[in-house]
Structures are given as C-alpha cells and as structure tokens.
Symmetry: C2
Subunit: 328 residues, 2 copies
C-alpha cells in the first residue's frame, strides 16, 4: 500500500511519517512505500519501506500527480497556508488552500481506485468565540480567510467522496500544542510559545488575558487521530465527513499552571501578557470548546491532561528544539 503525505515536511507531517515508519502498517495493512511532498524537499526518513522525498507546489496539478502515483491508497493532505499568512495574503491562501485541494481531487480521480484522503481542517472554520460549545452538527461560519478556505476544502472533498473520486475524513484539528521549533505564522503561535519558550529558559508573550480559553490538543493525539483516520472504516460516517476530535478546552492560565507543576514557578514567571490587537482579532472568533461527542465512538482517542501534554513535549521535542535553535 502506497501512502503520500502532502505537506510531509511540516510539523505534523514529520511526526506522522515517523509514526508510519514505526508502525510499518495502517489499519493492519503493510505500507509498501511512502512519498513525502512539500514546497521544500523533505529530509530523508529511516523506515522499513522505501521513502521518496519530493519538492513541489500542491496547487500545480502536474507536479502533484507525480506525488500521487497509481497504487496510492492513502493521501494525507496537510499542505496549507496557515491562519495569519492566509489573512495577510488572500491570493496565496486561495491558491494553496483551495486550488491545491482541487488539484488533489483531480489527482485522485486519475487513480484506478479512490484513495482514502485525510484532510486537516481546523477549529478556525467555526465561530462563536469564548462562549461557544460547538455541537457536532454545528455550522461553519468562519471569521477569517484560513477558516473559510478550510470549510471550502471540506465541502469540495465531501462532494468528491460522494462522487466516488476519493474517500475523505476531515479532522478539524484543535490548536496543536506544544509546537516545537520557532514561532510560526499561525495566529495561535503564542499558545505553544507560552509553554515552549519558558522550558527553553526564554521569555514568552501572549496577546490575550490569562482566562482566555483555547481548544487544544497535543501533537501525539493529533498524530493518533490522523493515523486512525487513515485506516478507519468510513461507512459509519455516512455523508458527514467532518470530525470534531476530543481536544481540551483550557485557559492560558491553566496551561501556565501545568507548566509550573512540571517545571516550577520560575518557568511560569517567564510568560507575560503583551496585547496584540491583530492576533486577538483572529483568535477571538475561534470557539473555545466543542462537544465532540461523535468522535470517541468512532475510535478517536481522548486527550491526555495538560500536565501530561507538557511532559510529552519535554520527552519528544525539547532537545530537538534546543538543537534547532542553536541552544544545545
């Protein structure tokens, strides 16, 4: 079984590829080859099957077809222009997040059999803000271009599924924390920074009040959900291919408390509020909590505690982040 990860050089793409390499199989079926596709050629990966690393633009149909050869049974579509970047450059967001998804559909139609597609949609495709508790059948009324483009991607892929071009599972990921490395162009970048930077001994800034609530999950859970979506039976989903996975609704203060419990009050003291109207305007619209009642019954595992989430970052990513930032 051939597998392709689009955006395979990114944060979740690398982690998912490592998971596939460790498992050697998806849903009990052995992986015979993996293609990692990203704007810049992804680094090689040790795996019990051949790994191809390709550079290319997901919005370019011809290049994309090379990344999704005949025999591809699973495509994980992570390639995206993220929230603050899509807000800053409308045309770039449209091209990558919409035209790119249309190109993916065209590539899947050209295959002899419809592949499973796992799409990462986002909490940002919903509105409601701090008071929201989004039900599983909640409507998507996005407050930013990134969220609109993710909702559009879901509609395109659900219709392509109905037509038999492919078989999608769209996971509306919470804000994944703790993200290793450096701050990025996601408006939610500060959510990871308030834990990561203090663990590196560095100061961190957050633009919202301490009681600001965010819907989050760990990278471990995000990878669990993506791997599960890649292998699951989709018949129980029916036409509704959007999954609100069981994340954690937590305030910045609760995250800092978990940081303090694991790394001491000195770590907590490194994080300070510095208002930023632009970022606040984007994240204020995102719902702070989801009911997420359907996903556990479909086999999507529940989130761990905030303290475990901080410990997992230390175990999995702290050293690599130090090296990456020239601190080791």
């Amino acid at each position: 079984m051939q597998v392709t990860i689009l955006g395979g050089g990114g944060f979740l793409g690398r982690k998912l590829a490592a998971r596939f390499a460790a498992d050697g199989a998806i849903g009990g079926k052995p992986i015979t080859g993996l293609t990692l596709f990203d704007l810049n050629q992804p680094a090689p990966l040790d795996a019990p099957f051949p790994v191809r690393c390709l550079a290319g633009d997901v919005a370019d149909t011809a290049t994309l077809k090379a990344a999704i050869p005949p025999g591809t049974a699973i495509v994980i579509h992570l390639a995206a222009v993220v929230s603050a970047a899509a807000e800053a450059d409308y045309d770039l967001g449209i091209r990558v997040n919409i035209t790119g998804t249309q190109a993916l559909i065209d590539a899947c139609r050209a295959l002899p059999a419809p592949p499973r597609v796992v799409f990462t949609s986002s909490v940002a495709s919903f509105d409601g803000g701090q008071d929201a508790m989004v039900p599983d059948e909640g409507r998507q009324l996005p407050t930013n271009s990134y969220g609109a483009q993710k909702a559009i991607g879901e509609l395109l892929l659900a219709d392509a599924t109905r037509r038999g071009f492919l078989d999608v599972v769209s996971i509306r990921l919470p804000t994944v924390m703790v993200r290793p490395g450096r701050p990025n162009r996601a408006a939610s970048s500060f959510v990871s920074a308030v834990v990561r930077e203090p663990l590196l001994g560095l100061p961190a800034q957050f633009p919202v009040p301490e009681d600001f609530r965010v819907w989050v999950c760990s990278p471990r859970r995000a990878v669990d959900w993506l791997a599960h979506a890649a292998g699951m039976d989709t018949a129980p989903l029916g036409r509704d291919r959007g999954i609100n996975p069981p994340g954690i609704s937590a305030t910045i203060g609760e995250m800092l408390d978990a940081l303090a419990a694991v790394a001491g009050p000195e770590a907590r003291a490194l994080a300070k509020r510095v208002p930023d109207a632009e970022v606040e305007a984007i994240v204020a619209g995102w719902p702070a909590a989801f009911a997420a009642t359907r996903a556990p019954g479909l086999g999507f595992v529940r989130s761990e505690s905030l303290e475990d989430l901080v410990r997992a970052f230390i175990a999995d990513d702290l050293d690599a982040t130090r090296r990456d930032r020239g601190m080791a």
Copy 2:
C-alpha cells in the same frame, strides 16, 4: 448608479432586469446604467437608462471585468450551471460555479468602492430531505455537487465581504415555480412542469409521489427578494450573509389542487407520476421546509398562496410561453 446582472439572459435575470427598468431605482437611488451579461448576448431591454448587453463567460476574469466597470455599485450574480447539469459535468460546475465566483470577487476588488453583490444560493445546499425543517442557523451538508458549489460560493463571498472587497447578500432561493418556457436541466424542472404543461394543454410527468414536499416560491417573490437584497442596509446581517427567504412548503398534490382550483380538474388530470430514479436521488436530499424566521424581519416579503402563484404565472408568462414554444 451602475448595475450589472451576471446571467442576465436567464429566467430570473430577465425578470429582474424588467423590474429594475420599471422601478428606475434601487433602494431609492436612481439607476444610471444596466449591464446584462450572459453566455449568449442577452436580448435588448426597454429601460429609462442605457442598457448594455454583453456576451461572455463568468469564469473568464478579463471578460468579467468589462462587465463590471468602475462605478458599478450593484452586481446580481445569477450565472450558474444548475443542478442536474452540475451533477452530469463535474468540471463545468466547478468552473462556472466556483471559478466564476472567484473571478467575480477579483473583479469587485478592482473597483474603487466595494459593490453590493446579490448571490443566489439554493435550498440544494442543505440536506435533510422530506422530514427537515431547516432552522436559520442550520448547517449546509449538501447532497449534490450544485449544492456544494453554492455553499462554497457563499463562503467565498462572505469572506470577501469581511475583507471589504464587496458586500454580499446570499439568498438561498427555494425552487422557483412556475418557470416559463421549456423544461430545463435543473433536477427540479418537474415542479414547474406539473403546473405549466397542463396550462398549455399538455401532459406533464413528475418523478416523485404526490405527497412529496418541496420548498418553493414564485418568480414574483424571487424578484422581490433579489431587488430588496440589492438595496437593503446590510448592517443588521452581521457576518451571517445567508438568507433563507420565506417560501412555501407544498406537496405536488397541493400544487395540483391549486392548478385544479384555477384551471379545472381536466388540467390536473394531465399530470401523472412517472418514476425517475436519477432525479429522485437528487431532490430527495433537499429539505422540504425551512423555518425562515429571520428573513421577514429583514424586509423579505412573505410568499403568496399556491393559487395566487398559479394565477400569477397565467398573468405574467403563459402567453409568452405559448409564443416561445410555437403554440400561439
């Protein structure tokens, strides 16, 4: 004030143009010029202001810009590939219904001031079928490509509105009946045919049982709603630019009863059920009723009775339909 109607040669486009010509103004502001744009050059129109009739493809950005010159204050976007056609030709539906809407957004961005855009979305963007009573905040989980493309158009235009490129009102039109002329490629074509054909003395077929319920409105009301949306204050809409207008939930049997009340039992006897699995599969998903509680408060007038709707067709369109079909 310059006004453009895209799809201005179609059923609703012609009727709306005639309404603008009769009113001479929209929302109290005089119309200084009207552009009718369609695949085939629309026929000339008598009006108290200059009327340009242009042929072109809405998905072609350069052509579209010519149809939306600087000074355009209102664009009515009716150009579309309708339900059965979008189901039969996926690429055509994507190109006209999505790429066309993206081209419209680009043309609006190029204007010195953001124009009002009135977009005709559809009941087909919802699911739920016969048992549904869709609330105003109901989510769109379309059961066909046309409906998915309409929902995507709404998302694109709402985001473009938020960004200040334009100012959209999206009206999810019910099935408009009685449509004059000939049967068309909309899956709902039979809904008009069961009234129109008997009034012409011709037999009509419907693919669903007599107790099959449809959400409908008259062309008069559809034109009222489009004209109102063109001139209304959009501030009360907030971010939610989708309007479920107050249509009528009626069974085929009730339509035939209205036909009999107006034109006698002989007319009713001309309509017969002939099952058609393909059409039934499309229309079975469309919701049969909407709560439509928000629209009347926003100034969208309520629908008339079914009998008045039949009488309006006789008054407005029966003679023209006879001529059009070489029967007069």
